[in-house]
Structure formats: C-alpha cells, structure tokens
Amino acid sequence: MSALTREETEALIQEVLEVYPEKAKKDRAKHLAVNDQAEEQSKKCITSNRKSLPGVMTIRGCAYAGSKGVVWGPIKDMIHISHGPVGCGQYSRAGRRNYYVGTTGVDTFGTMNFTSDFQEKDIVFGGDKKLAKLINEVELLFPLHKGISVQSECPIGLIGDDIEAVSKKGAKEIEKPIVPVRCEGFRGVSQSLGHHIANDAIRDWVLDKRDGQAFESTPYDVSIIGDYNIGGDAWASRILLEEMGLRVVAQWSGDGTLAEMENTPKVKLNLLHCYRSMNYISRHMEEKYGIPWLEYNFFGPTKIAESLRAIAAHFDDTIKAGAERVIAKYQPMMEAVIAKYKPRLQGKTVMLYVGGLRPRHVIGAYEDLGMEVIGTGYEFAHNDDYDRTMKEMGNATLLYDDVTGFELEEFVKKLKPDLVGSGIKEKYVFQKMGIPLRQMHSWDYSGPYHGYDGFAIFARDMDMAISNPCWSKLVPPWKQQPEVVEAAELPKAA
C-alpha cells in the first residue's frame, strides 16, 4: 500500500487525532503534517522542538543524554564523570556502540562508567567534596587519561553545586583539562538542548587551547564533525575522504580524542554529518576561525557521489579528480549490491522515526534500493531540519514530529509499510504486529551503514529484515484459513 493522496493522508491524521481530548488534539495536530515539496518553510505546516505533553508516550531523551551520551561520551581518551546518582550513567553505559581503538581502562575509557554515585547526604550537604575526591581518584587509578568532563545530572542543578570551581581547582592539581558541563536533564525539551550545551562547553573549555601553537598543516585538512562512529560509521566515511586525497585531522566525536578536537581549528573545511547535534560548533568555528562548513550525506551511492563532489568543489583539481576516482572505483561494487537486492526490495515501503539526521539522510539509501519512504519524523528536530526534510520526501507523505506511541502505532496500522526504521522501544511492538523493524539508532547491532562499504551492509540488513520467512508464520496453524496455508508454503526464500 503506497501513494496516498493528500486528502487521504490528511484524513488519516484527523482519524488518529480523534481519540485525544480537545486540548491535546489541538496541540498534537500542529506536530503532524502532510509533506508538500512546494512549501518553502516547514514552520507553516509543522511545529517542532516543543515540550512533549504530559500523558502521551514520547521517546525523547534529556539534556544529559544529548551531552554525555551523544557528544562527549565517544571522546575516547577522556573520562566522562556522570556527576549525580548512579543510574543515569549506568543505564546509558556503552549503549550507543561508539566504536573506538584503544585499550579500555588504560588509555581509552569509552565503554566505562564513571559516576559520583550521589547519596542522600550528598544532596543535603552538597557534592563538591565528593567530586574533588573523585577527580583525584581518577587521576590515581587511570593516569593515562587526557582529561575529564563532568556531566551534570539533574540534582547538581537543583542543589546548586559549583562544579566549575571544583573543575578549575582540580585541573590545576592534576594539570589536565577538566570540563564542567551543565547538562542537567531537566534543561530543555529534549536531548537537543544537551547537544547545544555540550557544543558550548567544547567551545568554551576545549577549542581554543592550542590557538597559536605550531601545527603542520596541509591544504587538504578536513575534520569529520557529527559522526559518532556507531558500528564503525566514521571509519567507513574516513577511508573515502582519505582515498580522494584529503587528510582527516579530527573525528568528532566517534573514535575521537581530545587532541584532535583541539587541533580542529587548524583545518580548512569542516564536514558536518549530524547537523542537529554539531552545527553549533561549526558555526562558531566559521565565525572565529573562518572555517567553512558543509553538510554531507554518506548514506547510499547516489548521495555519497553527490556529497563527494560537493566536498571536492571546495578544493583544487587533484581532489576533484580524486573524488571522481573514488566514485568510479566503487561503482561496480555498488552496481552489484543494487543488482542483488533491488529486485527483492523494489517497491517496498518504509516508515522512519529516528533522531537527528537519519529521518532525512537515509531516504536516498532506501531509494537506491528501489524502496519508498512513506512517512518520516524526528524525535527532537527543529524547524531547520524539517526545512531540509521536506525537499527529500515525496509529496503527500506523512511527517510526524515527536510522535507519540499511540500515533505511530496507528499510522503504521493504517499505512501498512513493509518496514519500519526506528528504535528498540518500537521494535517489538511492531514486530509483534507482524511488521519488520530495523533499529536505525544502533543499526540493530550491525553496521557500519555510512559510506560505500556501509551501503552493502545496509542493503543486506534491510533485505534480511523484510525477506525473513518468519513474517508469514505469525498466524498459528489453527487460526489460518485453508488458502492462507497454501500461500504461506509457496514462497521459498531464494
């Protein structure tokens, strides 16, 4: 089932909104829209970045998730202290699969959890002493760490601890940078503000630390910004850039180090993958250091070729030739992948509901496989994200912002996509409804999906999910109609 008309989609939204009380209905209606490519401004038809309504099921995170989980967490040679009660750090530990190279616990700390484990007395008497002690303990136990970030959890802001003072004092004692980050979970409406706060902390405490220092630069220095190396994504991107002749100075922040971040102001171009979480620092570097930034998209061969050419356009002819060489080199490999999977996936429909960049970035990859995205939405996007999305999506497709559990389920029931791309919280709900789901946050423990190598894995995974024989076996034999039994036996997985 695909290609609803505009009226049908609008009717669908109205039908789903029917169950809400009047006030909630009015509010939620603003977050659901029918795409219109002709529309220049998303804010005319969709509202985003607003507080979720109490009582509806949202899957948003908090500012701490945006700062510690997304932006700071993957920086591998720093120790990120979850300052506050133990749960926030422990339940988010190593969940995002930000791959890195190094010996965990010796010179890298990506999958470890450091927390000040607040108790009642710390709330009553303040946790500053505990933090100071923790900093010294960290220095004693892990002398090879390159710096510390203090990621505040909610109580820190509520009781008014002065983590900045403790950090400054501690940094003098251990002679390493300590960055206090005021990313208390209650700030903002979603993790999006956490990204902003984290970017501002990097700007204020990290970025200018090597200004004026000598740096052996080349005219081809770039940095990868906003790639968190989930399942190795940043590596799959990096090799393409290096093959075309660029030098990648820094990876922000997947498999990244503190030194790389401090060297970033020396690059010639910032390549921005996740616009939502790191546009802030790119804008800052553009203003302060005059480094232009460019959004790129490494999902699917069409978008990769487009992006490689756009990147090369910022450099001289050797890089331009390099880009063409890279595109030509991978062309046969991509043709083979498409030849294998496109016949199996042609015409299948997908609905997406993910976070910062994927609801629009992966559309091209699905289209390369002959699939059609019929609905997409963001957890925590802002208007500028929807401005960009509306051009990517087909006319009369469905857009949903901060969609509630109920709405997404109803949309999926009505639109009956062949695949849903979302997260773990949605996965089993939809699979029990008989609709395959791939997690598009963690690549369902597969990956990488970026780059040419990633596309081959992406295509295989999507085929695995959709063509899995289990989807025809969901109705138990005693409930099956006789003709359905025959139909289920017919298709043999090729």
Binding site: K43, N49, H196, Y280, R283, E286, E287
Partner: protein
C-alpha cells in the same frame, strides 16, 4: 537584546541565526546595506523583525551581533 549571528552565503544573501532559540532564517530585507552604513531594521523570511545598530559593514562574515527584537513571528 539578543545575540544573533549573521551569515552571508555564496550568492551574497544574508541569513540570520539566533542561537538561543536555534532559529535559522533568511534575511529578506535590511534597512541599510551600503559601504558606509549597514544594519538597521532587518526583516526575516518568517515574518520576524529585528534591529541591529547601524554600523560600518563588517569586514567578514559570519559575525555575532546584538540585536533588538522588534517583532518575533512565533
């Protein structure tokens, strides 16, 4: 007063960015845009209006400025 950032794209058009609200929009009209005087009342694509103290045109873009909100479209 709000901190804003004004960018100039490759085509020479100005864009407006308000970090506090993550608001990015095109500037459709600017009161003064000459070599002696730059700024004044600016109009955004979304209907909002801000006022930048008229000044000499900035040497390079993007630039962070203080601006007064005259009429925000929200």
């Amino acid at each position: 007063m709000a901190n804003i950032m004004v960018r100039k794209d490759a085509a020479g058009a100005y864009s407006f960015y308000l970090p506090k609200r993550d608001l990015e929009d095109a500037i459709v009209a600017m009161e003064f845009d000459s070599s002696e005087k730059w700024g004044g009342e600016i109009k955004l694509n979304n209907g909002g209006a801000y006022y930048i103290e008229p000044q000499l045109p900035p040497a390079r873009f993007p630039i962070s400025l203080r601006a007064k909100r005259l009429d925000a479209a929200e």
